[in-house]
């Protein structure tokens, strides 16, 4: 437990009090002299005053000595802190702090440091927790008083962590007693900062940039190649020129889609912490998405079945254009993954309470499920939008990564049919902004073949279903959101 450091100023107060007492005795002596006329009485009083003053100073000196020998609670008049003062100082700093001696052992660690590294780190070498040869070198530098910029350590075990270490200048502590063997020992404060999360975010950002650049490289390489060909081999080939210009247009549109998706993602992420305050109608949003995708579905001979159970309007707090984009991305994926002449189902239904189970039949059918954005159960009513396809389904290896940027699950699609790789990431962020939940149930074609005939009747072909759950906030207004990682 940290204690107040006010004890450290007590010696100064004591010195002030001594001055007052001596001053008071001297004033009393001068006043006595003024009133006493008898010389012998004057001398006796002077001797008594001197004797009292000598006695007082003697006891004061005894007390100071006793303080130096035994006290471990107060700072001394020598200006050096005691062990306990150093520890209290470390405990009072609102960051992870460990006190290290010259051999590198941890002599004290505050609770934040113990939480960060190990509860039993005191008495052990710091290098056992901060495994790095550079750490020892930098600790030696700190003890020799050299300038020491922060050291960043990547620790792999027991859990992967990135920790910044800042060393103080060396501090001497006041000896516990005259015979204290550590009286010449010095210490440094190591201030530790957990950078694991920040580092992870930076790595994610770097990966994202690398992936975005890679995605743009292919259409750019293609465009450059066609320009060179049109200037070279195809210079006098009008038939090839027409074909190539068409391909170049496709490539330019592909780059445009990627940039549009990148901007959409950025826009949604920047507003993710703000829950929409306006109302949106889910029925209308589904209708708008269906209108846009009807030509694609028709081209692939896929029938779009819509079941909204005669629901008029389904109002939620949400942004209509974001809801349209959410359904558009999910439906487009479903259409692209579906075999020719299959069915994509879109349903909207109202749930009296949200019990946390988006797919009641998952266990029975042997399908795999995943909570991409979790929504804790609630007594509030909810709207459920489910989009299901009869495609190949997602394999168990793909399932945990659905929603990651640039992670494509459509491995068997041709390059032209593949999207930007950002569609489901955008869906995930729209769902998070709307404080909704996103769940997927899938049965992969290989898993389906292994099911027994009874279970096959429940889900007679492979496929996937995405469910988005919106809490009906017209009835309840406080529900937490929790993203599953």
């Amino acid at each position: 437990m940290s204690q107040p450091l006010s004890n450290s100023v007590r010696p100064n107060s004591v010195r002030g009090r001594d001055g007052l007492i001596i001053g008071f005795v001297m004033i009393a002596a001068i006043l006595s002299m003024a009133f006493l006329s008898d010389t012998s009485a004057y001398i006796a009083l002077l001797i008594t005053g001197l004797a009292l003053g000598t006695l007082y100073l003697y006891f004061r000196l005894l007390r100071t000595k006793s303080h130096l020998d035994t006290s471990d609670h107060q700072d001394s008049d020598l200006g050096e802190p005691s062990d306990k003062t150093l520890e209290r100082l470390a405990d009072s700093i609102p960051r992870a702090v460990a006190i290290l001696n010259e051999s590198g052992a941890v002599t004290h660690a505050n609770s934040a440091a113990k939480n960060l590294l190990a509860p039993d780190m005191v008495g052990r070498p710091a290098v056992a927790y901060l495994r790095s040869s550079e750490f020892k070198q930098r600790l030696d530098d700190a003890f020799s008083g050299k300038d020491n910029p922060p050291l960043t350590l990547h620790i792999l075990a027991p859990t992967e962590k990135v920790i910044d270490v800042d060393f103080s200048k060396p501090v001497s502590k006041r000896p516990v007693s005259k015979n204290d063997p550590t009286q010449n020992e010095q210490f440094v404060f190591a201030v530790l900062a957990d950078r694991t999360e920040a580092n992870l975010a930076r790595e994610k950002q770097a990966d994202f940039l690398a992936n975005a650049s890679h995605e743009l490289k292919t259409p750019i390489a293609s465009l450059k190649g066609y320009i060179e060909t049109l200037r070279g081999h195809a210079k006098d080939d009008p038939e090839a020129r027409d074909v190539f210009l068409g391909i170049m247009q496709d490539q330019a549109e592909r780059m445009e889609r990627l940039v549009t998706d990148l901007l959409s993602l950025r826009k949604i992420e920047s507003r993710e912490h703000i829950t929409p305050s306006e109302t949106a109608d889910l029925s209308k949003a589904i209708g708008s998405a269906l209108d846009i995708l009807s030509p694609l579905a028709a081209a692939r001979k896929i029938s779009l079945e819509v079941n909204t159970s005669n629901i008029g309007s389904a109002r939620i707090f949400g942004k209509t254009d974001e809801c349209v984009q959410l359904f558009l991305n999910l439906m487009e994926n479903a259409i692209k993954l579906s075999p020719l002449q299959s069915t994509v189902m879109v349903s909207l239904d109202h749930m009296p309470t949200w019990n946390g189970d988006a797919f009641a039949k998952a266990a029975k059918t042997g399908a795999s499920t995943r909570r991409i954005v979790n929504l804790p159960p609630s007594q509030a009513p909810a709207w459920r939008v489910t989009i299901s396809d009869q495609g190949p389904g997602f394999s168990r290896t793909h399932l945990p990564r659905i929603g990651e940027r640039f992670y494509r699950v459509a491995g068997d699609l041709s390059a032209q049919e593949k999207g930007t790789g950002l569609g489901l990431a955008i869906v995930k962020h729209i769902v998070m902004r709307h404080r909704a939940g996103l769940f997927v149930q899938t049965i992969h074609k290989d898993d389906h073949e292994n099911l027994d005939s009874t279970n096959k009747s429940d889900l007679n072909i492979s496929g996937s279903a995405f469910s988005v759950i919106f809490i009906d906030r017209s009835a309840h207004s406080s529900d937490a959101i929790e993203e599953e990682e």
Binding site: A221, Y226, T229, H233, I247, S414, A415
Partner: protein, 87 residues
């Protein structure tokens, strides 16, 4: 005899570009859009050169290179890992 090049690339725009230019330079070409197809085609007729994409549907470029045991594979990708494949 005309040299025969097998192009393994799922990106149609790149494949068309390679096909056109190689044919204009006097090569005979064939196109495989995925790894499985590449293996079958390389077995049917052994190419003089395989131009191989790294990221392919079904089988990756590395797997195709290993299965065909082709000495003359050129990688069509930009990634660092491709160097290992060529080596």
């Amino acid at each position: 005899m005309t040299p025969y090049v097998l192009i393994v690339e799922d990106e149609t725009s790149i494949a068309t570009l390679l096909e056109y230019n190689l044919e204009r330079e006097g090569f005979e070409t064939a196109l495989a859009e995925d790894g499985d197809m590449a293996i079958v085609m390389a077995e049917e007729r052994v190419p003089d050169l395989i131009l191989l994409d790294w990221m392919l549907p079904k089988l990756s470029g590395v797997e195709v290179a290993a299965k065909t045991q082709q000495k003359t594979c050129l990688s069509l990708c930009y990634r660092r890992e491709a160097k290992k494949m060529i080596a």
